[in-house]
């Protein structure tokens, strides 16, 4: 009788210990943990491409292919985004009708701050991207907003990125459930398959970087936004982050969302955060 009680007590204790050991793992797997996600994301690419220097990932397809890299380095002597850069610099300095400038809307006069965008605005409870902040600045000063996918916005962000070149991406996620939800939502968007082609962002930029899709070499997702905005030969012009998301969706035969939709803002937040520490290289040039 005593022996049976001991066995029963022993089994109960073992079950409790097993439960105590396993249950925290279950909770941890469901918890939003941006730090762990960023570490895993970066390690994935560092291990997949052990010969690529970490800071080179921001150069997209050029980090994956030596021939393309050499061509690009030569092209950088007279970069195709130079006109946009000059235009952006002039636009940035030109006062609005009320006499104020973009510099009045941003910390440090808007110079060298690209690496801090997007950020989570705790008053609005949403992610604010650089493109969105620029248009809000215009509207606050009585000016009409620019198209998120056209040249003016690309020129402005090209100039602002240029003033941040080499600075490490530094996105903050405050300990705010809304910010964590935005990060998680961005992550979900990134991995979710959509369109008739049944592709997610990750299908190309996680599973197949360095591979060809038709004539193009796919860029790795790590650091992919550090080079924005970009001049694309395919577009014969500059393109913003908004334009990149919209065209990616169209290429999978998904109807794109409206530029600066919550999902796009959140996916920009996610992709930028997981690239923390990698240098800003924008404006970039791509085939």
């Amino acid at each position: 009788m005593k022996a049976r009680a001991s066995i029963l007590l022993g089994s109960l204790s073992a079950a409790l210990v097993a439960f105590a050991l396993t249950s925290p793992r279950v909770v941890a797997a469901d918890k939003v943990d941006p730090v762990a996600d960023a570490r895993a994301f970066q390690n994935f690419f560092f291990q997949k491409f052990p010969t690529v220097k970490h800071e080179d990932f921001v150069n997209g397809p050029y980090s994956m292919n030596e021939d393309m890299k050499r061509q690009w380095q030569e092209k950088e002597e007279f970069p195709p985004y130079e006109f946009a850069l000059d235009a952006g610099k002039e636009m940035f300095a030109t006062p609005f009708k009320n006499g104020k400038t973009y510099a009045d809307c941003f910390p440090n006069g808007g110079i060298g701050i690209r690496q801090n965008y997007p950020y989570f605005d705790d008053k609005e409870g949403k992610v604010v991207t650089l493109e969105l902040a620029l248009n809000r600045c215009r509207e606050a000063n009585g000016e009409a907003p620019y198209s998120y996918v056209k040249d003016e916005m690309a020129s402005l962000t090209a100039y602002m990125a240029f003033t941040s070149r080499g600075k490490p991406m530094d996105i903050k996620i405050p300990d705010d459930p809304r910010a964590l939800a935005a990060f998680e939502n961005g992550k979900r968007y990134f991995y979710t398959r959509r369109g008739q082609m049944n592709f997610s962002c990750a299908s190309c930029h996680v599973q197949s970087p360095g591979e060809r899709i038709r004539a193009e070499i796919l860029a790795p997702a790590l650091g992919i936004l550090n080079a924005m905005p970009i001049y694309r030969s395919e577009w014969s012009g500059m393109g913003t982050t908004s334009r990149r998301f919209v065209t990616c969706n169209s290429q999978t035969r998904a109807v794109p969302l409206e530029p600066q939709a919550d999902e796009y803002r959140d996916v920009e937040y996610f992709l930028s955060y997981v690239a923390n520490g990698l240098p800003i290289s924008g404006p970039g040039a791509r085939p």
Binding site: D37, A40, F41, F44, K187, R188, Y191, T192, R193, R194, G195, Q196, N198, S200, A202, S203, V206, Q207, S250, R253, A254, V255, L257, E263
Partner: protein, 105 residues
């Protein structure tokens, strides 16, 4: 000379074809039924933020064919749009959980 068996079979087949009722051409009512079903599925896909460009194109093609009086083509395009929209709804539903399988951990 008696006709050979294969020739008899061919004649029987041709006779059957002649007697078979011809497929009825689609009319405007058929188109409206097919289009409204496709439109409802398409709206549901859009509300899930999973609309496909090809669904929108097929819906537009259906409307264009109907405007031109070609209801056979209009019904076919509307049915295609409905099938595409339903596939995109299926995608949206399954991806609610399936995306996690692709996540880097």
């Amino acid at each position: 000379m008696k006709p050979s068996l294969p020739l008899a079979m061919v004649l029987a087949f041709l006779l059957a074809l002649g007697l078979a009722p011809a497929a009825r051409a689609a009319n405007e009512a058929d188109y409206k039924t097919a289009y409204s079903a496709a439109e409802a599925a398409s709206k549901e896909a859009a509300s899930l933020r999973h609309q496909w460009t090809v669904t929108v194109s097929a819906l537009a093609a259906a409307k264009k064919a109907a405007d031109g009086g070609d209801f056979d083509r209009a019904v076919a395009a509307a049915k295609e749009a409905e099938a595409l929209a339903k596939a995109s709804i299926f995608q949206a539903t399954t991806e609610k959980e399936a995306w996690k399988a692709m996540e880097i951990r």
